[in-house]
Amino acid sequence: MALDPTSGPALPKARTGIVGFDDVTFGGLPAGRPTLVCGAAGCGKTLFAVTALVNGATQFGEPGVFMSFEERAEDLAANFASLGYDLDGLVADGKLAIDHVRVERSEIEETGEYDLEGLFIRLAYAVDTIGAKRVVLDTIETLFSGLTDASILRAELRRLFGWLRDRGLTAIITGERGEGQLTRQGLEEYVSDCVILLDNRVEDQITTRRLRVVKYRGSAHGTNEYPFLIDDQGISVLPVTSAELGYGVSNEIMSTGIGGLDAMLSPGGFYRGSSVLISGMAGTGKTSIASSLVDAACQRGERCLSFVFEESGDQICRNARSIGLDLKRHVENGLLRFEAARPSLFGLEMHLARMHRDIERFQPSIVVLDPISALRGPNSEVQATLLRMVDLLKIRGITAVFTSLRTDGTFEDDDDLGLSSLMDAWVKLVSVEANGERTRTLYVIKARGMSHSNQVREFQMSAAGIALIDAYIGPAGVLTGTARVVQEAEEHAATLRRRQESERRKREVFRRRQGIERQIAELRASLEIAEDEEAVLVTEDEARDTVMKKERLIVSARRGAAE
């Protein structure tokens, strides 16, 4: 069949159900074709194969045959029971067949020409019995140690892979990594449709598992090395998501649970799905503020996942109690989950893979990383890891809260892991040392897409929670703590003094006015007296005039009579 990856119909694929792997390969393994999974001892080849087989049987309705050349069926069942795979149950249900092919050189004498028809018959019988669609051959190279005639084996293997293809079986063939080639016996020559390389690398005493799709004929596939994880939950691959910034954004506002902080942000909180960085020196209250955010979210009924690198979840719950937050209750309700791990437990990639898987499983709406500064490694790697983490959360619309320990609390760029540009909001906590005391202050360096207060606020942590207090900003500069209290007292006293002074002067003026008014009254009184006197004088004058006129008339009358 001619394959044309560009225009032809998409290659049919068989999903493996392995978290992440199906994304990397855009759908899984090539259906009806053999795939080679190779890698060094202990890198998870068998686990990969069994997982794909079991998932096929349980999730995708494709029964499978596991042909083991190394482990016995009983051992396999016991080993995978620890991962919750009930192989015996699947066998009993007819969804899985396990055939252990024992190859022991000492028991086999070669006496002439032979072929591996027996193997074909066994495989065909197992496949036909349960109607299998998937086949695992683990590890077929063991044949080379059991049988001496390599030329027969090579011919027969070529025939086997052709046979698998003819039967339309999705096959996984595992192979041990060899010198200078992918497998010891060069199986990649025969299985050329899809080759997956598993790797287990140790750097700085930290092991990182990586998976790479070396080739995938007829299909696009991710070409990077993807970290993958094996633990009690099975295998999961972390797809390094593309660097596209095509995620949707939310206009919804999310309260921080700290009234004063909400008030500093004009919409009353952070945008949902944004990434928030809380940075500060040791003991400035980073974790406490993050705890407040978590508590507020849980009270709204949202799910929170907290990755802590320096404390245990219980310790954080206990410490949060001291600021009046009952996180334990949320843990018990299943709304809050702590995932505590020492940063040195895995490499960065593994941390990322683990977090990715936990996020997929828990589906939180808020994720806390406390603190990201605990992730150690070359700066470029730490930054790349966090960048991917931010992307991963953004795509899912998860609000991310990162705390970061700053060693000196300065504005220098070299200690922020180059993160500031990744963050939508950045709250900085600064401990101000003055007058023999330290005071916690907080300010919002940036908050994309919203106006925010540019002021430094002092905050206090008490059993009542975190409370913001307006810092003293006056002619004497910014003062906090006791200095603020002292300054406020001084101001109060000065105000009092001013008021007293002004009252005194008011009283004085009042008195003076009263004096003047008194003088006015006195003058008015004397004026009245003068007026009275004047009136009396006028009256006297008039009376005198009248008398004189009368007398003159009398005199003139007398003079007239005498003449």
């Binding site: 004498e109 070669e110 006496t111 002439g112 032979y114 028809e117 027996g118 018959i121 065909a124 019988y125």
Partner: protein, 107 residues
Amino acid sequence: MSDLNKPEVADENGHYHLRLYVAGQTVKSMAAFANLKRVCEEHLAGRYDIEVIDLVKNPQLAAGDQILAIPTLVRRLPEPLKRMVGDLSNTEKVLVGLDIRPRAFLP
């Protein structure tokens, strides 16, 4: 030569129970059966029986005796179980494999 070795290798009964696994009537299978018959007649006359199992007809029997290659000869009796693959054309190896001739005698 066979007389020399007989008392050392055969058990009390000296009976050989042999099973030959084949897959259809192929050239190799036919050759294996012919070779086996010849060796047995030469060295184990009268105290052997050969069971031929055709896996094409009975595929479920392949897993029981851990059959991988075809043809395979399995010596069920005497104990211990022995397995030989190939068309049995190398008579020396067959004799050693069946413990008719000690391994040390192999040139």
